[in-house]
Amino acid sequence: MIEIEGLTKRFGPVTAVAGLSLKVGKGEVLGFLGPNGAGKSTTMKMITGYLAADEGKVKVCGHDIETDTTAAQAAIGYLPEGAPAYGDMTARHFLGFIAEVRGFKGAGAKARIAAAVEKTELAPVLDQTIETLSKGFKRRVGLAQAILHDPPVLIMDEPTDGLDPNQKHSVRSLIRGMAPQKAIIVSTHLLEEVEAICTRAIIIDRGAIVADGTPAELLARSRYHNAVTLMLPKDDAEKAFGRLKALPGVSGVERVAGADGGVQLTVFPKSGALLIETVSGLATRENWKVKELYAEPGRLDEVFRAITTSDAARAKAARK
């Protein structure tokens, strides 16, 4: 439903997006990851027709955003960065305006607004002006606006930014609930969000895709994938360190001082090796006083750091 081909955007000497190509189909929730300034928001702005691309094409439900702009925009629900809304309007009037622009009238408009309000739990603040709302409610007004016309394509720039954990949870269930009928792109800094809602994750850096896969596939790229971590008292840890290192399939062991005098050991596998059973077997046989023992699924933040660059390096490279 979203087709992007060779999308490029330059701001003066800086290339913000460099030849990005991408397809998102129905039922997919695509997580857009990347450091600040990697080109996430710029890409979303081009998909929704706010910015014109220097090169490349964007098609939304078959409509070209450049030549068939309003038809493409009608198929999109968009939550821009920071969830902008007219501060002097009440939430009710604002959603009424959006409904009218989207072509709903009378009872139809009312039903749409009511549904969006219910999904985003906005009812208590409907008659307050938007500028008086808390950050969480403002963000949800933006969400309500985006989902009001039940669009086949949803583009959301950091939908849970500024929300408290409860609100994050309800927004994530909302997105998950809508996912089967829509193509959704969500940008985020929160790696746990990708694991919670995305069926596919893309990491972009310097305007180009550097990783593309399911969250599980990305996790598998982590050095921590299938590593085993165990927490031991200090004297056990000394003995264990050598024994663990000598196990077949182990590429290395790392030692970190843990809380209350314990030591945390992480055992890294050689590629493809599964260590959890051998490690737990060894611990039982040796009678170590194990406080914790678990296999690591992989750490997304570590993958993220390994394949993206620091912002200083990026700014330098972008100017070349």
Binding site: Y50, P80, G82
Partner: protein, 245 residues
Amino acid sequence: MKHLLPIFKREFAAYFATPLAYVFIVIFLFAMGAFTFYVGHFYDNGIADLSVFFAYHPWLYLFLVPAIAMRLWADERRTGTVELLLTLPIPLWATVVGKFLAAWAFTGIALALTFPIWVTVNILGSPDNGVILASYIGSFLVAGSYLAIGACISATTNNQVIAFVVSVIVCFLFTVSGTPIVLEVFRGWAPLPLTDAISSFSFVTHFNAITAGVLDLRDLVFFLSLMALFLAANVVVVDLKKSGG
């Protein structure tokens, strides 16, 4: 039309959602009164017409209309709502025209609220109400022209102060281009057709022709085409900003 209406309604309501509308209307009416009675010596003239009242309109609009126009686009850019507005399925021209019409309708209301002076002059004497009606139309057209210029300039920046200052300057040039001071500068060296062309761009020249009581089609066409020109430029500016970022 179905796209234009929601934009118009939202923009128009926005004036009254904040004190802006009331402050503007009060200042507008107060300034109109002050100029008419103190500067124009309305009573001392002893003539039952509104020519002194209308004579100051272009000069008042010069500052008041850019104050209305400056926020049209600059404010949307500053708050980020422009991103929302331009990603809604509305053709760009409808957004531009809807915003402009809302602002123009608002100045129309301010202008209509000057009606007590029309009532006054009708009680005191028997003025030519046809001339007064033509003058009101002319005044409304001048306001619309300033607005179209201001809206276009507002679209180029996210800073309202810059939008205001530049609009005042551009509107000032359009206003004074028919006065002897400006024309003298050109008369010495420029060919006559150029001098005439510059003179014909003057709002005051066209406005004075209308307030004299002659609603000439040429003056109407001048103001309407000027508005159309600047609204088209407004569309182009907004569109260019899309690629410029």
